[in-house]
Symmetry: C2
Subunit: 195 residues, 2 copies
DNA sequence: CTAGGTTTGGACCAGCAAGTCCAGAACGTG
DNA sequence: CACGTTCTGGACTTGCTGGTCCAAACCTAG
C-alpha cells in the first residue's frame, strides 16, 4: 500500500521526470538526473516503480497526456461559438509558444511510442479524447448554423488534430510556429466556410 | 581524400544506419549494430565520421530527408491536375502504409531535432522544399481554375504539410492511418471547393 | 512501547556502448 | 616496383547508467 507521504513522493518523481524530459529530451535524461532534481534516491525510485525506467516513462507519458488536454481547457470542452473556437486556437498556439521547443507528447511517443503497448494506449486515448471534443464542437457549430454542414465532422476533426500535431512537430524541429498557426486557421476556415 | 571504394563504404554505413534506425528506433541502435549490419569496423566508422555518432546521425538525417521527397516523386513535382493531386495523395498514404510504423524523419527529429543545429537545418530545408512544391501546385491549380482562388496558397500549403506530418506522427504512435488520410483529403477538399 | 509495514539513502555491481589506437592490408601513381 | 595515402580490423579503454541490495529511519495501530 501507499501512504500519503509515499504517493506524494511518487508524484514528485513523475513531475520531476516530466520536467527533465521536457527540458533535455528523453535521450539525455538519466535516472540520476531525475533523482537529483527531485531529491530522492535510487531506493525510492525503484520502490515506487519496480519495473524501473520503463514504468516511470509510462507514468510520465500518462501525466503529460493529461497536461496536454488540461492546458486546452476550458476552451476545448465547449467549442460552441466562434469566440470559443478562436480562444481555443489562441490557447493552443500560446501554449506552444511559451513552452518553446519541447512537446512532452511528441518526445515520448517518438522514442517509445511503438515500442511499448502501454504508451501506445496512452497516446491513442489522448488522441481520441482530443478529437472527440473537437468533433463535438464541430457538430454543435453545424447545428447552430455557424459551420458548413457539408463538411464531415469526424474527418474534419481528425484532420484538424493531425494538423495541430504536425504543426507542433514542425515547430519542434525548426523552431517555427507558422505551420501550427496555418494548420489551425486553415482548418477552422474550412469548417466555417458558408455553404 | 576519398577514393571510390572509400565513398562506397561511407554510403554503405549511412544506408545501413538508416535502415537500422528505421527498424529499431534511434535509442535501440548502437554503432555496433550498424557495423554488424554493414560488415564494417570501428576503424572505418570513425575514419569516415571523425565526429562519431553525432556526425553519422546527421548524415543519416540528410539521407532520409532526401528519401522522403524522392518517394513522393514524380507526383509532388507536378501537381498541375486533379489526377496528379490524387496520385500524390495515394503515393503518400501508400508509402506510409507500406513502411509501417516508422518514419525516418520523425524518429530523427524527435531525438536530435532541437539538439543539434545541423539536424535543424536539414529538417527546415526539407519542410521548405516540400511545401514549396505543394504551394506551386496550388498556384498552378488556381491559375487553371481548378482550385478556389480565395484560398491563400502559402498558408494552405503550410497547413497541408503540417497535416501530413501530424497524420504520420499519429500513425507512428497509434498505428492508425486514418488521420493521415483525413488530413490529406480534407486539405485537398478545402482547396478544391467550388470555384 | 513495540511490532508490522513503508519509506529512504546510498554503496555497489554489471554490462554496455562510444570512442581510441595502432598495425597491417590494399591501393594507385610516378 | 616503391612509397605514400587511404582503408580496414579489432583489441582495448573509459565512463556512464540502469538496476540491486540492504540497513536504517519513520510511521502507525494495537
Amino acid at each position: 500500500m501507499l501512504t500519503t507521504k509515499g504517493s506524494a513522493t511518487r508524484s514528485r518523481i513523475i513531475e520531476g521526470a516530466a520536467a527533465e524530459i521536457r527540458e533535455h529530451g528523453i535521450g539525455a535524461t538519466t535516472l540520476d538526473d531525475v533523482l537529483a532534481r527531485t531529491r530522492t534516491s535510487k531506493g525510492q525510485l525503484f520502490h515506487y516503480f519496480p519495473q524501473g525506467k520503463e514504468e516511470l516513462l509510462l507514468a510520465v507519458a500518462a501525466h503529460e497526456a493529461d497536461r496536454v488536454l488540461a492546458d486546452q481547457q476550458p476552451h476545448l470542452g465547449d467549442l460552441t461559438s466562434r469566440d470559443a473556437w478562436h480562444a481555443w486556437r489562441d490557447a493552443v498556439v500560446d501554449r506552444y509558444r511559451r513552452q518553446g521547443p519541447r512537446c512532452p507528447l511528441a518526445v515520448l511517443t517518438a522514442e517509445i511510442g511503438r515500442a511499448t503497448p502501454g504508451t501506445q494506449a496512452v497516446v491513442t486515448s489522448l488522441v481520441q479524447q482530443w478529437e472527440r471534443q473537437v468533433i463535438d464542437g464541430i457538430v454543435a457549430m453545424q447545428a447552430s448554423g455557424d459551420f458548413d454542414v457539408e463538411v464531415d465532422p469526424t474527418r474534419a476533426g481528425m484532420a484538424l488534430v493531425a494538423g495541430i500535431q504536425g504543426g507542433v512537430a514542425i515547430m519542434l524541429a525548426t523552431g517555427d510556429l507558422g505551420h501550427l498557426e496555418a494548420a489551425l486557421d486553415t482548418g477552422i476556415a474550412h469548417l466555417a466556410r458558408r455553404a
